[in-house]
Symmetry: C2
Subunit: 160 residues, 2 copies
DNA sequence: TTCGGTATTGATATGTTATAACATATCTAC
DNA sequence: GTAGATATGTTATAACATATCAATACCGAA
């Protein structure tokens, strides 16, 4: 994969590699990547955008499944809790992790307000600063949600 | 106000000063801090916790107003868009700004998962790092949401 | 292999958060 | 006072998420 999801990249390879990683990690860790969970991950991987649970349900329904809300939420819970996907709080939506090899990590997201694209950044040095800043105040960070909203490179050029 | 909201402080003064600041800024900027907006801000200021729109509606109803959802959301939109309150994405809830003098700013929040207290930190150096990191990727940050979840000082001591 | 516990799925109902749409009231400027 | 803009009242509905319980699939131990 190229530097980040805002730039052109071999997206079929991007999907295949994420799926392969998920299968390998599940096998290694004794997790069950069932058909439903895998299908939801595939749906998330199709685009570098965040999908709502009901978007996923709509896709499943289009494939003939009569999927009800718990179906999507259960699969998403599995994927999120094991680090194969993330929840974007600002959008009430979900996106496949682009760094599933790293296991649990503290991602940061850039959300384009124009085209809805979402890119995940790797290990933002900055975040370590935040965590230690919190520690100085006596607060023990367990999870973080860092989401930046703005214009992606393509949309910046299109409407400067 | 003391260093942050996790520690004891003169909360009546905390409320009064935030209200005074809001009134002053609205006067200076030609904004209308109407009775409803002011009341919602007062409700938010009562505690250093985030309240959902429907929590606010319940308080308004308890005071005799038959307030419907748009009443809360409109007041919250006003308060948030002018920097008197913030939305906590992770909680789908709202909290009064503790730094209303600074006008628009990029806050970071620490959310205690045990007691639901929320503290706002001032100008986290770290965040500047995130923004410049995004810039390097060609992404123009316009808004940010930085929310840390964990245990506040009091809850850390209570259950170590 | 069969049993029994655990994890997953199916299905229905409900809870929670947020906005659309349109009417009415209030304020401000002319 | 009238007109335009802003704010509020009111109803309905969209969008997001979970509770509950029954049925089935899976997996290791007897
Ligand atoms: Zn890709
Ligand atoms: Zn874009
Ligand atoms: Zn206070
Ligand atoms: Zn606490």
């Amino acid at each position: 994969m190229s530097q980040n999801q805002f730039h052109d990249h071999d997206h079929q390879g991007c999907i295949a590699s994420a799926l392969a990683t998920a299968e390998a990690r599940c096998a290694a860790e004794g997790l069950r990547l069932t058909a439903q969970r895998k299908r939801v991950l595939e749906i998330l991987l199709e685009e570098h955008r965040a999908l709502g649970a009901y978007d996923i349900l709509a896709r499943l329904s289009a494939e003939g499944q009569n999927a009800q809300p718990p179906v999507a939420y259960r699969a998403l819970d599995f994927l999120v809790s094991h680090g194969f996907a993330h929840r974007i709080e600002r959008l009430n939506a979900y996106i496949a992790c682009t760094l599933p090899n790293e296991g649990a990590h503290m991602p940061a997201f850039m959300i384009c307000r124009n085209c809805d694209m979402v890119a995940e950044t790797g290990r933002p040095e900055a975040e370590l600063g935040l965590v230690s800043e919190a520690k100085n105040l006596g607060f023990a960070v367990e999870r973080s949600s860092v989401e930046l909203e703005g214009l992606c490179p393509a949309c910046r050029e299109a409407r400067p």
